[in-house]
């Protein structure tokens, strides 16, 4: 059964490391739904959050193939590790004419989005949250006219135990 998996990957911060990972997915016909990369506290390591999907055997292969890369330090399947927090950010440039400006702001208020840029005809809205929230905001703003949309892709982190 196909399932979405969020993988957390620590990789050596060396040239070509990202190309190896992306090439692996392309070469073996695996899917990348989203990909997010940045430096970690340790500047010699990069952190990469990768969302993919496939059945159990495919996901097992993806994880093993990633671990096989010499530059890959650690791979965790966040989806299988119990509870986790996931966040994504999107910037949405939405049409905001006289008659719709108030409606856009109302939406922003409800979803706790921030307006980060204003022009006579547009608002640029910043929204953060789990994927479902981003998608809900996009769906609701669509009828008002989305001019441009940029999403970061998902990042995720395991939740710590609530009791000591």
């Amino acid at each position: 059964m196909e399932k979405k998996h969020t993988l957390s990957v620590l990789v050596e911060n060396t040239p070509g490391a990202l190309a190896r990972i992306v090439g692996l997915f392309a070469g073996r016909g695996f899917n990348i739904d989203s990909l997010c990369v940045a430096e970690t506290l340790d500047p010699t390591l990069s952190h990469l959050t990768l969302v993919t999907h496939g059945d159990d055997m495919i996901i097992e292969q993806i994880i093993k193939q990633l671990r096989r890369l010499i530059d890959v330090y650690k791979v965790v399947d966040v989806t299988e590790e119990g509870e986790f927090v996931e966040r994504e950010m999107a910037l949405i440039k939405v049409r905001a004419e006289k008659e719709t400006r108030a409606e856009v702001l109302r939406m922003c208020d409800i979803f706790r989005c921030k307006v980060v840029d204003v022009s006579p005809r547009t608002y640029t809205v910043e929204v953060t949250g789990p994927e479902s929230k981003i998608e809900a905001v996009i769906e609701l703003l669509k009828p008002l006219g989305i001019k441009e949309l940029v999403r970061t892709g998902l990042i995720a982190m395991k939740r710590e135990k609530k009791s000591a």
Partner: protein
């Protein structure tokens, strides 16, 4: 004590410290500094090839025949791209080679400079790892890491791209005696509990088979395989890469399995209730139709590379670890439990009776017609005349399969063949590498008239080095394996499988200063082969075989391995 050295000096010093005494290569502008250094280094023998592909296959042949890391050195651009087939060949068969490529100066990288190519980009999917060295200070460490990565874990090719200015720059030389890579820690020791599970499956099995793959050879686990088979009386079958991992002449050997495997090996695997797979990766040529592969069998899979496990077939007991150490652990448990060998024999008695019925019903065989030379007969004769003691390289296609079927390999590292990638043109340069590394051994290349022409230019290299390789060309005037498929599955529409021009191989040999021999009738074969084996020179033996002889048994692609076309 650190001394200032140029990059080129560091490279050559690194090769020495890694115990490299032979380098296969071809010079060019981007490696001229390294060649200048080699000029002053008599300890390292440089073998000048005629095409860079030949250099990689030769390094690979050296590696396969000795277990050492093979090395080649080529220039940037076309020199580098010409190595790609050889690198991919080594990658598919997990062969440790280090490929050093020249690169344009760092300042010019990305500028489409003369003879510039992004070789690390090109070879990323077909190397175990690769490096582009951007600082001369990183050079010694990088070379050490390259050898370390190539030879440890599941071995494989590593490429190091060396910009020209790095070769010329100077730095203090520090050689790291040990290297630790935090992101690369192959697991050698098997998990004991997993091995115990494997033992319990053996205890409850009645129809077990040991499946030997190339991992047995690269980890040197052949003794352990033999001990396990003999102690428990279990039949052994081998993949193409596993041939020699268990003696082919042993009464427990079922020979090769898979598309051109023996009837009894395929039947045994298909009917088994337990497969102990050691260093094999269940490639499609072995499994046939995966859904129909060994339907009743539980599978124990020992492999150092976790990705090989559960990739193609479901596995009941995965054991991640070195084949040799894993089998040693299993043998330890067997001895601890101390069940008498007799009891095991009793347990598998009916299984052996069944296997013997299969063996008698369809032995590996071929039909003589009294008129044509049968290729299988040639291989059998070669086996007899060499007493099975040659290092045998093959090209790819029918010549390769006939060799795998009819030459009985008793020792590891005696069959050198491109299994995974199936590279025509592999065998002859590989034979050059093997003969360079094993000057006292007899080295054969069993070829077809098609594949020998793919790297025939290396005859000059073999002559340069006075290598007495015997090339046996099974000449059927066809690209025989494709012809066979066209005959069986494409209504004999022989599309593009016949060369209008085939060179006179005898004259060709003579043109290079080698010896050319020819046999066109069955009664000539033995004499010609004997003469070739007695000749202390490169010999091309042109044997005109039955043009439309096929390789059988054969499992059509995508079918169950029990659906064999027999002779």
């Amino acid at each position: 004590m650190a001394t200032k050295m140029t990059g080129a000096q560091i490279i050559v010093e690194a090769l020495k410290r890694e115990g490299v005494d032979i380098v296969f290569g071809y010079p060019g502008g981007a490696v001229i500094d390294i060649y200048d250094e080699l000029y002053r280094t008599p300890e390292i023998k440089h073998v000048l090839v005629r095409h860079e592909q030949g250099a990689t296959h030769a390094a690979d042949g050296l590696a396969r025949s000795t277990g050492k890391v093979g090395v080649c050195l080529v220039t940037s651009g076309p020199g580098a791209t010409n190595t790609v087939t050889g690198i991919a060949t080594a990658y598919m068969d997990s062969i440790p080679i280090v490929v050093l490529t020249g690169q344009v100066p760092t300042k010019l990288i990305g500028n489409d400079a003369f003879q510039e190519v992004d070789i690390t980009g090109i070879t990323r999917p077909c190397t175990k790892h690769n490096f582009l060295v951007k600082r001369v200070e990183d050079l010694a460490w990088t070379l050490k890491a390259a050898f370390h990565i190539a030879r440890t874990g599941r071995p494989g090719p590593v490429l190091v791209d060396l910009p020209k200015d790095i070769q010329q720059a100077k730095t203090d030389f520090h050689w790291p005696e040990e290297i630790r890579l935090r992101s690369y820690n192959p697991v050698y020791e098997p998990h004991k509990r997993q091995v115990e599970k494997a033992y319990r499956l053996l205890e409850s099995s009645t129809r077990p088979v040991i499946l030997v793959g190339g991992g047995v050879i690269s980890s040197g686990a052949h003794e352990e395989v033999r001990e396990l088979a003999e102690l428990l009386h279990i039949p052994v079958t081998m993949t193409l890469m596993g041939l020699g991992g268990f003696p082919g002449t042993h009464e427990y050997s079922l020979g090769m399995l898979g598309m051109h495997g023996t009837y009894y090996a395929n039947m045994a695997v298909a009917n088994s209730d337990l497969i102990i797979a050691v260093g094999a990766r269940f490639d499609d040529r072995v499994t046939g139709k995966v859904d129909a592969f060994a339907p009743m069998a539980k599978i124990v899979h020992i492999d150092i590379d976790p990705t090989s496990i559960q990739k193609n077939v479901r596995v009941d007991v995965p054991i991640v670890g070195d084949c040799k150490r894993s089998l040693a652990k299993l043998l330890e448990i067997i001895k601890e439990v101390g069940r008498p060998s007799k009891l095991w024999k009793e347990q598998f008695k009916e299984w052996w009776e069944q296997i013997d019925i299969w063996r008698r019903r369809y032995p590996l065989t071929y039909k003589q017609d009294g008129e044509h030379i049968k290729p299988q007969f040639v291989i059998e004769k070669l086996y007899q005349l060499t007493k099975g003691e040659a290092i045998v390289c093959t090209e790819v296609g029918q010549n390769q399969m006939w060799t795998a079927q009819f030459y009985k390999f008793d020792k590891p590292r005696t069959l050198l063949s491109s299994g995974g990638l199936g590279t025509m043109g592999y065998g002859f340069p590989a034979a050059i590498g093997a003969q360079m590394a094993n000057p006292d051994k007899l080295v054969l290349d069993i070829a077809g008239d098609g594949s020998i022409q793919m790297n025939i230019q290396e005859m000059a290299t073999a002559m340069d080095q006075r290598l007495p390789i015997k090339v046996i060309i099974l000449n059927n005037g066809y690209l025989g394996m494709v012809r066979q498929w066209q005959e069986l599955f494409y209504d004999r529409r022989y599309s593009a499988v016949q060369f209008a021009t085939i060179p006179d191989f005898v004259k060709l040999a003579e043109a290079y200063g080698a010896v050319g021999l020819r046999a066109t009738k069955p009664e000539e074969v033995e004499g010609v082969l004997k003469k070739a084996l007695e000749t202390n020179n490169l010999v091309l033996v042109d044997i005109h075989i039955a043009p439309e002889e096929g390789v059988f048994p054969m499992v059509p692609a995508g079918r169950a391995t029990t659906e064999m076309i027999l002779v």
